[in-house]
């Protein structure tokens, strides 16, 4: 009975979806609204207008900058929610004592098998190259596929690998305590900052100056945005990992 109900529910859900998919225009059809409405403009003038050779970056940060700001807010909120869940179940003293208590708890954690020297060596050997690649992905997001989100994820993964290999004592210096909240909110803060600068230049929040003479300013604003997203993303992943590992 229950199985029949589930099957019926599945079929009922799948039918409209499949009908909807079947009604979609063929892939690459030039007459669809996607291709006739606004894409052409992006593709023809995007490079000059948005200030990025990679059109995807141009659309993400310039034309649809506000949407990306919203996305960044969502990620930040998710981090806050995750932290709230992770921290709330243990009673902690306030302020500095809380931090010390968490650190002490982390040090008292059951001793694990020591990290293999081979793994440690290879991670330490590759770390500078991974960091270089992450920065390349962030900065070169203008020209080639990539950008803040991708590079930030690579940076975060590097931080996690280093923390596993070297221990949190050594990597703590990479994310000093005072800088932590600023790093976690870096993406959002950058968007607000650049948005206000854009507002001063154009009159719209997150507006990018359109004059040809301000080409450099456009590029700079995008670079700052990318760097902020990268740093913020990396900090979000690193914080989540550290909080989940603490204990």
């Amino acid at each position: 009975m229950k199985k029949a109900f589930v099957a019926a529910l599945l079929i009922l859900t799948a039918m409209p979806l499949l009908i909807g998919v079947a009604a979609l225009p063929p892939h690459g059809d030039p007459d669809t609204p996607v291709h006739t409405h606004i894409s052409a403009r992006y593709l023809e003038e995007g490079r000059e207008e948005a200030g990025a050779d990679n059109i995807v970056t141009g659309v993400l940060l310039n034309y649809r900058g506000l949407d990306t700001a919203g996305e960044v807010t969502v990620i930040f909120t998710a981090l806050m929610a995750g932290l709230a869940v992770l921290i709330s179940h243990k009673k902690q003293p306030e302020g500095d004592a809380a931090y010390d208590a968490a650190e002490a708890a982390a040090e008292d954690a059951p001793v694990r098998a020591p990290v293999s020297p081979v793994v440690s060596f290879v991670v330490r050997l590759l770390a500078p190259f991974i960091a270089l690649f992450a920065v390349y992905v962030i900065v070169n997001g203008h020209v080639t596929p990539g950008g803040g989100f991708q590079g930030g994820a690579i940076l975060g993964a590097l931080f996690i690998a280093l923390t596993i290999v070297l221990g949190r004592e050594r990597t703590r210096t990479l994310m000093p305590r005072l800088a932590q909240p600023w790093m976690q909110g870096a993406a959002l803060l950058t968007f607000v900052g650049v948005g206000i600068v854009g507002g001063a230049l154009t009159g719209y929040f997150l507006g990018f100056p359109a004059d040809a003479s301000l080409h450099l300013a456009r590029k700079l604003m995008m670079l700052v945005l990318e760097a902020g997203i990268g740093l913020g993303g990396a900090a979000v992943f690193a914080t989540l990992f550290l909080q989940m590992e603490a204990e």
């Binding site: 098998a113 293999s116 081979v118 793994v119 290879v122 050997l125 590759l126």
Partner: protein, 109 residues
């Protein structure tokens, strides 16, 4: 008359064939070998030599180019990381007490 392009193509084909062969053998080993250690061994071979020589084939086929440098860097990364992963897996298994397969006891897994 054998031209340089022919030689390059031949080298590419040989390297790619070696890579594909190693992937095939490694995958068969992954399915057929009896215990965790042996399977890790097979999988590591297939990643290291298979992916390495496929990447080298691509590099040779591409000729002298910036992309070739990137492919060679990738091959170096694979050559470094894949054996490390195999080592880490086997070590973790050993430390958590996964017993190696022994012929006399029959199938343990």
């Amino acid at each position: 008359m054998i031209s340089a392009v022919d030689i390059r193509n031949a080298v590419t084909v040989v390297l790619a064939a070696v890579g594909a062969l190693f992937f095939l053998i490694g995958t068969i080993g992954l399915v057929r070998l009896p215990d965790f250690y042996a399977r890790t061994h097979a999988a590591t071979k297939c990643d290291t030599v298979g992916a390495g020589s496929l990447l080298l084939a691509l590099a040779v086929f591409n000729g002298v180019d910036v992309s070739t440098l990137k492919i060679i860097a990738l091959a170096g990364l694979v050559l470094l990381s894949s054996p490390t992963i195999g080592h880490a897996l086997a070590r973790a298994a050993h430390r958590t007490g996964v017993a190696p397969w022994q012929a006399r006891k029959g199938r343990t897994s």
